[in-house]
C-alpha cells in the first residue's frame, strides 16, 4: 500500500510547509489572519517579506541535551482561488486548479452536498461567505504562549501595515484558537487521536500523494497538479512538469510539494448537546442518569470522553492508556460495541465498510483520509474531567446549561483532493442517511441534521433485545465560516512573490 519508501530527503521537507506535516502540538496558541489583496504588486511585495519566515517541514535541530529544539513560533500561509487571482495569476493558470478549489466552498450546489444550509448557510457566515468580501489568504500563526502569540501577531500586522493598503485584514475576521486542557474538544471528548501518518514523514503511512502534490497517491498515480506556462516563470523558479503526457505543453509545476487545506469554523452547541443527552436519558431510563447521558454521547462519538474507542472498551470508560488509534472493527461487524452511525466510524470506517471485505474496506478508507489541524475557540463551558471522573459531580446529575458564549473548533484539514477526500467524507459518509445500510441516520455530531428539506435523522444504537434510537437529532454543530485553500510549497511562494504578470 505504501508507495513512498524511506524518508523524504531534507531538501524536500524544507520545501513543504510545516502545517502539512505537523500539528505544532507544542505551540498551544494559534491565530488565523484572514486577509484580502487590494493591489497585486503590493501584495506580492508583502508576500516576499512574509515568505522567508514561513515554517517548513524540515526536521527540527537536535539540541545540546539530545532533544529536539522545537521552534517557539510557526508561521504558514494558504491562498484561496480568489486570492491567487488577486495576486496576479492569470485565468489560464487558475483553470489548472481543481474545479472545487476554483469555485470555492460557498457555492449553492456545494453547500447542499456539505450540508451548509439553513443556519450553516454561507449567507449567514461571519466572514468569507456569500455577499461578504472574499478571503484571499490565511496566515496561520502559532506560538508557545499567549505573549508569544501576541508578539507574532503584532509582527504580522506590521507586515500588513508595510503593504500600505495592498493587503488588508478582513474586518472582524481575526480568529484565535487554542489547544484545550487535556485536548478535549468543547463537547468534552478527547480529540485528535486518529491522525493518518504520511508515508516518508518519517517512515510508513498513507501514500504521500494523498496529502502532498508530486508523490504517488493511493491509486499509485501522481495527483493532478496546477501548472504555469513556462513563459510566465521567466526566472525559472518552478520545476518543469515531469508528467510525460504534457511535456509538449511547456509548463512548470506550481503544485509540487503543496497541498489543499479546507477551513471550517464549526460552532458547537455544547449545552444543546448535553441537554439532548439528558432528555434522551430521561426518555429511555425514566430519569436523568449521568451514566446514561455519557453512554449515549459516547455512542454518538464512537469513543468515551477519555478517547478510549468503544470497540476496545464497549461497556465502560476504563481502557488503560495506550495507543487509542490501534483498532479495527472486524470483531464488531454488527455494530454492537460501536454503532455504525457513530462519528468516528463514519469519518474513518477502517476495515468494515458494509458490505465489503476487510481488504477492500481498508483500501477504500485509505483513499479518503484527512489530516486534521483543528484548534478550539471560546471558553470551555464545563470541566470535561467530570465526564471521566463522575465523582467530581459530587452526586449531582450532569446538567450543562448555556452561558451565552460561543465556542467550537476551527477545523482545518489537509488533503491532495478536496473533492475525493474532504467532500467525499462529508457527503458519502457523514451526511448520508443510508450509510452502511442505516435508515435515516446521519453523523450525530457534525451531520446536517434537522434540515427542513430532509426527513428527520436519528442515531441508532444496536442493542439487545432491540436497538435504541434517539429522538430526531438537532444540529449540534453550525458552520460559521469556511474556505478552500491552496497551501503552496516554499518554492511556489517564491514564485508567487516574484511573479511578473505583465
Amino acid at each position: 500500500m505504501t508507495t513512498q519508501t524511506g524518508r523524504l530527503p531534507e531538501e524536500i521537507l524544507a520545501d513543504i510547509q510545516g502545517f502539512i506535516t505537523s500539528g505544532y502540538g507544542h505551540l498551544s496558541y494559534a491565530a488565523y489572519l484572514f486577509v484580502q489583496f487590494q493591489d497585486a504588486v503590493l501584495a506580492r511585495q508583502w508576500l516576499g517579506r512574509v515568505a522567508p519566515a514561513i515554517m517548513s517541514a524540515r526536521s527540527w535541530p537536535i539540541g545540546a541535551g539530545g532533544k529536539k529544539v522545537k521552534p517557539p513560533v510557526a508561521l504558514n500561509i494558504a491562498f484561496s482561488a480568489d486570492g491567487l487571482s488577486a495576486i496576479g495569476l492569470p485565468q489560464e493558470v487558475l483553470d489548472t486548479f481543481p474545479i472545487e478549489f476554483q469555485e470555492g466552498i460557498a457555492r449553492p450546489d456545494r453547500s447542499r452536498v456539505l450540508g451548509d444550509t439553513e443556519e450553516s448557510d454561507p449567507a449567514e457566515w461571519e466572514f468569507g461567505g456569500t455577499g461578504k468580501p472574499p478571503i484571499h489568504a490565511v496566515v496561520f500563526i502559532y506560538a508557545e504562549s499567549e505573549a508569544g502569540l501576541e508578539a507574532a501577531c503584532h509582527a504580522q500586522r506590521t507586515r500588513l501595515d508595510e503593504a500600505a493598503g495592498g493587503v488588508v485584514e478582513l474586518s472582524g475576521s481575526m480568529q484565535s484558537g487554542h489547544r484545550p486542557d487535556g485536548d478535549c474538544e468543547p463537547f468534552g471528548f478527547h480529540d485528535g487521536i486518529a491522525q493518518p501518518s504520511i508515508a516518508g514523514i518519517p517512515d510508513d503511512g498513507v501514500p504521500t500523494g494523498e496529502f502532498i502534490l508530486g508523490y504517488l497517491n493511493h491509486f499509485q498515480i501522481m495527483p493532478p497538479t496546477p501548472v504555469v506556462p513556462a513563459a510566465l516563470d521567466r526566472d525559472r523558479v518552478l520545476s518543469p512538469l515531469a508528467n510525460p503526457y504534457h511535456v509538449t505543453q511547456q509548463v512548470r509545476d506550481l503544485g509540487l510539494n503543496g497541498s489543499y487545506v479546507v477551513y471550517r469554523k464549526l460552532q458547537q452547541d455544547v449545552a444543546g448537546f448535553w441537554q439532548f443527552m439528558k432528555r434522551e436519558a430521561v426518555r429511555s431510563m425514566g430519569a436523568p442518569s449521568t451514566d446514561r447521558m455519557i453512554w449515549l454521547a459516547s455512542r454518538c462519538v464512537g469513543r468515551w470522553p477519555s478517547g478510549a474507542p468503544l470497540v476496545l472498551s464497549p461497556d465502560a470508560d476504563d481502557l488503560p492508556s495506550g495507543d487509542r488509534d490501534d483498532f479495527l472493527y472486524r470483531d464488531d461487524a454488527e455494530g454492537m460495541a460501536c454503532p455504525f452511525g457513530a462519528h468516528i466510524r463514519r469519518t474513518n470506517p477502517r476495515d468494515v465498510i458494509k458490505p465489503y471485505a476487510s481488504g477492500q474496506s481498508l483500501s477504500m478508507s485509505e483513499a479518503h483520509r484527512l489530516l486534521r489541524r483543528a484548534r478550539a475557540f471560546g471558553p470551555a463551558l464545563f470541566d470535561p474531567a467530570v465526564l471521566t471522573d463522575p465523582s467530581k459531580l459530587a452526586g449531582r446529575t450532569l446538567d450543562i446549561e448555556d452561558d451565552g458564549h460561543v465556542r467550537g473548533i476551527h477545523f482545518f484539514c489537509v488533503n491532495a483532493s478536496i473533492r475525493r477526500q474532504f467532500e467525499f467524507v462529508q457527503q458519502t459518509w457523514c451526511n448520508n442517511p443510508r450509510f452502511a445500510g442505516l435508515n435515516d441516520n446521519k453523523d450525530p455530531i457534525i451531520g446536517d441534521n434537522a434540515r427542513t428539506d430532509h426527513t428527520s435523522s436519528y442515531m441508532t444504537i444496536p442493542r439487545k433485545p432491540f436497538r435504541v434510537r434517539t429522538a430526531a437529532l438537532p444540529r449540534f454543530v453550525t458552520v460559521k465560516a469556511g474556505a478552500y485553500l491552496f497551501m503552496p510549497s516554499l518554492t511556489a511562494l517564491r514564485f508567487l512573490a516574484g511573479f511578473r504578470g505583465d
Binding site: I221, V251, A436, N439
Partner: protein, 431 residues
C-alpha cells in the same frame, strides 16, 4: 424477475427543443416540485405505476443520421411482461402524442406497441440486483420496516412476542409454522440446488458467445473479467495458473487535461450529488473493428450477472440496482445505463476499487479512453463525464432505498413471514 426495456427513437428534425420543453417539467415534477398546472400539460405520472422500478428519458446524439440529429432514449425496468408495461405506460401518460409524436415513425396511440417494439435494443449485459424483487414486494418490506420502527421506539424493553404479531404479514398462523418446519435443512438444500440450476446455463453461454464474438475475443474477454475477481479464492487460483493479471501501469502520471475549466464535465443531472439513488447514461464510440471484443467482455459480465451474482452484488459492487451495457449502431457505439446508489464520485471510486480490470476491458476500445487505463482515475472520470448524457426524466419506485437497505428490509420481511423468532430478534437489534 424484472424485465428491462431500452428504446431509441430518432427525433424528427427541429423537434428536439419542443421535446425537451415537454420532458423537463415532467422530470421536475418527479423530483418533487409539483406543477401548478400539471393537468394542462403532457405528463407521465410514474408515481401511479405499481410495476415500474426505474425509468428514464434522455435525449442522445444521433451522429449516424447527421451531426444535428438527436434521438430519444427510454429505459425502464419493470415487473410483468412488455405488453403490460406498454399498456401501463400509455395509461399513466397524458399527451402521448406530444412526447412520442416528436419521434420519427410514431403514428398515434394505436400503433404505439409496434412503434416501440421496432426500436427496442437488447442489452449485451444486464445485471439485476434483486432477481425476485417486484416493486410490490420491495415496497411491502419497506412498509414493514417503517411499521416496526415506531413499535421499537415506543417499547424499548417489551418482549419480542408482543412485537412480532404486530409485524406479521397477515398469513394464517399455520402457514408460518409450515414454513418454519421447512426453514432449516430442507430450505438450505433447496437453495443449494437452486444455485446450481441457476449456474448451469453458463456452459451454454460460452459456446454461444464464441459463435457470436470469436474464440480469441471470448477467451480474452473472459480472462479480463476473471482478473477482476482476484479476491475470490477460486478465481485467484485460476489467475495464478494462467498468469492472468493486470499489466503494470505504463505511467505513474495522469493524462487528465491540465485545464480543468475546459474539461469541466456535464453539470450533474437530477441533483445526482444529494439524492439516495442516481442514474448514469454513458455513450462512447467503439474503435473500428473492436465491437466483438467489447461484446465478448460484456457477455462474460452478463453470464456472471445472470448465473452467479448473489442478490444485491455485482462482482462485489453493492450499489447497483440495475445496470445494462448495450452495443448500438451496428457496433459503433457502447451505451451504459445504470441505476445506482450514492454520489457519482463514490460510485466510480467503488468501480475502480473493485473491478478495475473489468472497467478497462469494457471501455479500452472506446475513443478517448485514457492511455493509463482506469487506474488513472482522474482521467477515467473525465472520460466518463465527457461521454455522460443527462436524463430529462428519472423515476424510481423506491427512491430512498439503497441496495443494502433493500437487503436488510427484505431479510426482516422474510423472517417475519416465516415467524423465525430468533432471526427477527437479530434484525431488530440493528434496525
Amino acid at each position: 424477475m424484472p424485465l428491462g426495456l431500452i428504446v431509441l427513437a430518432p427525433i424528427r428534425p427541429g423537434e428536439e427543443g419542443p421535446l425537451r420543453d415537454v420532458l423537463r417539467p415532467i422530470g421536475d415534477d418527479i423530483k418533487g416540485r409539483r406543477l401548478q398546472d400539471a393537468s394542462a400539460r403532457p405528463h407521465i405520472d410514474f408515481t401511479r405505476s405499481r410495476s415500474i422500478h426505474f425509468a428514464r428519458l434522455a435525449i442522445l446524439d444521433d451522429p449516424d443520421r447527421g451531426p444535428e440529429r438527436k434521438r430519444l432514449l427510454y429505459a425502464s425496468a419493470f415487473d410483468g411482461d412488455l405488453d403490460g408495461h406498454l399498456t401501463e405506460l400509455v395509461a399513466i401518460t397524458s399527451g402521448m402524442d406530444a412526447i412520442w409524436g416528436r419521434c420519427e415513425g410514431y403514428a398515434g396511440l394505436a400503433g404505439f406497441g409496434a412503434f416501440i417494439r421496432a426500436r427496442v435494443h437488447e442489452p449485451e449485459a444486464f445485471y439485476i440486483a434483486f432477481r425476485n424483487g417486484t416493486v410490490e414486494r420491495i415496497q411491502q418490506s419497506i412498509a414493514l420496516r417503517r411499521q416496526a420502527e415506531p413499535l421499537l421506539d415506543a417499547a424499548a424493553a417489551s418482549p419480542l412476542a408482543t412485537i412480532l404479531p404486530a409485524l406479521s404479514t397477515g398469513d394464517p398462523a399455520w402457514a408460518g409454522v409450515v414454513r418454519r418446519a421447512f426453514s432449516t435443512a430442507g430450505r438450505e438444500i433447496a437453495s443449494a440446488i437452486e444455485v446450481v440450476i441457476r449456474a448451469l446455463p453458463i456452459l451454454a453461454d460460452l459456446p454461444r458467445a464464441i459463435v457470436r464474438c470469436g474464440f480469441t475475443n471470448v477467451s480474452r474477454g473472459t480472462l479480463r473479467i476473471i482478473a477482476s475477481l482476484d479476491r475470490y479464492t477460486l478465481f485467484r487460483s485460476v489467475n495464478r495458473i494462467t498468469r492472468n493479471h493486470l499489466p503494470p501501469p505504463t505511467s505513474s502520471y495522469s493524462s487528465v487535461d491540465l485545464d480543468n475549466r475546459a474539461s469541466t464535465p456535464v453539470p450533474p443531472s437530477f441533483r445526482e450529488d444529494v439524492v439516495t439513488q442516481n442514474q448514469l447514461t454513458v455513450v462512447t464510440a467503439i474503435g473500428a473493428g473492436h465491437a466483438d471484443r467489447v461484446r465478448a467482455v460484456l457477455s462474460a459480465i452478463d453470464s456472471y450477472a445472470k448465473r452467479l451474482a448473489p442478490d444485491g452484488s455485482l462482482i462485489g459492487i453493492s450499489t447497483i440496482h440495475f445496470v445494462r451495457w448495450l452495443v448500438i449502431d451496428e457496433g459503433r457505439r457502447l451505451m451504459l445505463v445504470s441505476d445506482y446508489d450514492g454520489s457519482w464520485e463514490a460510485y466510480i471510486d467503488e468501480f475502480a476499487e473493485l473491478i478495475l480490470s473489468g472497467l478497462e476491458a469494457i471501455w479500452e476500445s472506446s475513443d478517448g479512453f485514457p492511455p493509463g487505463g482506469a487506474r488513472d482515475l482522474p482521467a477515467f472520470k473525465q472520460f466518463l463525464r465527457s461521454h455522460q448524457v443527462p436524463s430529462e426524466i428519472f423515476f424510481s419506485a423506491y427512491p430512498e432505498e439503497t441496495v443494502l437497505n433493500i437487503l436488510n428490509d427484505s431479510a426482516l420481511a422474510r423472517a417475519c413471514r416465516d415467524m423465525a423468532v430468533d432471526r427477527v430478534g437479530d434484525l431488530l437489534r440493528q434496525l
